[in-house]
């Protein structure tokens, strides 16, 4: 399944949820979503700092002998 299909599925799920949930819960959800988004942004900043400098070379050089 492609990512587009996956996203579509999540969106459909969210739509269903929205229609079944009370509107009074919306602000809480938005607040939670914003918090999660902010957390993810911080995490991505950190990843930019720690990710191996030369990704291509790092990936190419990681070669293992097969095991069990």
């Amino acid at each position: 399944m492609t990512e587009r299909e996956l996203k579509k599925k999540h969106v459909e799920k969210k739509d269903t949820q929205t229609t079944t949930e009370q509107t009074s819960e919306a602000p809480v959800n938005t607040e939670r979503t914003d918090k999660l988004k902010a957390e993810m942004d911080d995490l991505l900043d950190e990843i930019d700092e720690v990710l191996e400098d030369n990704a291509e070379e790092f990936v190419r050089n990681y070669v293992q002998k097969g095991g069990q």
Binding site: M1, E3, L44, L51, E52, A55, Q64, K65
Partner: protein, 496 residues
């Protein structure tokens, strides 16, 4: 009635060497084992042991006072005071945890394994200095078609027919990926080149349903029959299909749900319907390649169920099983209840929206993180940066590991893990093994899963058999071990 699901995890770590050991993973792995075993041996001088002559040591440890681990790289096997084995297997450092009696214990001693391999790597790098560097990864593939394993072992009742185990476990293992998969970008099997992200590290490498192999034509059910215990009573089920997990919840559920499933099989309380897939290998891969969890597996009887449907079926039988039998076989009622609650919560999350589990499960954490990173930098799934993240997720170093940055919920404390680096579990024979090694390191010439061999300077060596994994616990031998001043006294009291 099912028997206690004593369990353990063996992990082959990925190893990258630069400088002196570049292209020589066996040498690099041997160095890790050596420096760690040497350090642990030396640190034991503060133990309350008899003033016996520090003798030669055939457990794979270096002689006390011996130097230069580098020249002794032929020593590639060590039994540790926590009851585990650290050794070199197939060009990888491998940590086999001690026998544990619950999934939570297995998590603690698996995490202790990470601590041990991390310390071993640090010691090796100190030793190498400017001459080289070693880095270890807790993963299962190099993304180029080479795989190495993370196996589980479970104690089973020998009287349960193996064909029954096979029939019931195949669909369980195929569906288990959705809670225990460690996630992977792309695929390593040319059968399908359009895979962007998949749930399991290992699914690409399985080609058979049942078999004895572990390095080629890997089977979903491995038939290795090496009980390391009374062979008339016990079987050790050797499970090779799992991924090495960074998330404690993934490891916990992997062990906990499998232990429960095996107990249910032994007591004939597993799901009633035959869920044998029409094509198990195809099903295994399709489930792995579908992070939407919507793929329906076609069963031999024509019915179609998703991996989530199958897991929910097992969960509902497990609840019934625990109501009926209690949780003793999986480490007690509290342990059983924690497995059931976590299993329920995770399956409900997967049913509702997988992203609610980004701090619980490895594959979901990876999926969420990589997707967000990809969107931020406008990358595609096949970007080298995403591939680098896929590897670096499993880096054991705090300063590099991505898994340690995603904020996983934890189930055990750092203190428990640190203690488990040196101490064995209290609840299995690992206690006897570990404590004897702690107390009388120079009197034990070799140790393995089911025996200890003492050399007391007498005419013959004394073997203490430990054929029952449920014996030798702290409850059974704790006082005895405390009271004995010398190993001879212990052997006398044991009647050896």
């Amino acid at each position: 009635m099912a028997i206690s699901k004593i369990c353990g995890i063996e992990t082959e770590y990925g190893i990258a060497a630069f400088g002196e050991f570049e292209g020589n993973p066996v040498g690099a792995s041997s160095l890790l084992v050596n420096v760690y075993a040497t350090a642990q041996y030396r640190s034991r001088t503060d133990w309350d042991f008899d003033d016996e002559t520090p003798g030669s040591d055939a457990r794979g440890f270096l002689r006390q006072g011996s130097m230069a681990p580098l020249v002794e790289t032929h020593l590639v096997n060590a039994v540790l005071t926590n009851g585990a084995r650290l050794y070199v297997d197939h060009a990888h450092p491998e940590y086999s945890s001690p026998e544990c009696s619950s999934a939570l214990e297995a998590v603690i001693w698996d995490r202790a394994g990470e601590v041990i391999v991390t310390k071993a790597t640090e010691l090796a790098n100190e030793f190498l200095g400017p001459r080289g560097k070693i880095i270890c990864y807790k993963n299962n593939s190099d993304r180029k078609g080479n795989s190495y394993g993370c196996h589980e072992n479970y104690l089973m009742d020998r009287s349960v027919p193996f064909p029954k185990i096979i029939q019931e476990l195949v669909p369980f293992f195929i569906s288990r990926q959705i809670i225990a998969g460690a996630g992977k970008v792309g695929q390593e099997n040319s059968a399908n080149s359009n895979v962007e992200f998949q749930i399991s590290q290992r699914a690409d490498f399985f080609e058979e349903v049942v078999g004895l192999e572990t390095t080629i034509k890997r089977p979903i059910i491995n038939t290795r029959d090496e009980p390391h215990a009374h062979s008339d009573r016990y079987r050790r089920l050797h499970v090779i299909i799992g991924d090495a997990n960074m998330s404690e919840t993934s490891t916990f559920l992997k062990l906990g749900t499998t232990a429960l499933a095996l107990a249910m099989i032994e007591d004939s309380m597993s799901p009633k319907h035959d869920r044998t897939p029409k094509s198990p290998i195809e099903a295994l891969r399709q489930v792995s390649q579908d992070p939407t969890l919507s793929y329906k597996i076609e069963m031999a009887d024509g019915s179609k169920l998703s991996a989530l449907d199958l897991q929910e079926e097992w969960l509902s039988c497990a609840i019934e099983y625990i109501d009926h039998h209690g949780g003793e076989v999986v480490g007690g009622d509290d342990s059983a209840s924690q497995i059931i609650r976590t299993w329920e919560r995770v399956l409900a999350g997967l049913r509702r929206d997988i992203l609610t589990l980004s701090k619980d499960l490895d594959w979901v954490a990876k999926y969420a993180l990589f997707s967000a990173y990809k969107d931020r930098h406008d990358l595609t799934w096949d970007s080298p940066k995403i591939a680098a993240m896929d590897l670096q997720y499993h880096d054991l170093r705090d300063e590099k590991s991505l898994a340690k940055r995603v904020g996983f919920k934890t189930l055990v404390t750092a203190e428990q893990v640190n203690r488990a680096e040196k101490d064995p579990p209290l609840t299995t024979r690992a206690y006897f093994r570990g404590m004897c090694l702690k107390k009388w390191p120079d009197a034990i010439v070799s140790a393995n899963w089911d025996s200890l061999l003492f050399d007391l300077g007498e005419e013959s060596l004394q073997r203490v058999p430990m054929l029952d994994p449920l014996k030798g616990t702290e409850k059974m031998v704790g006082t005895l071990l405390k009271e004995c001043k010398a190993p001879r006294e212990l052997l006398d009291k044991l009647g050896a």
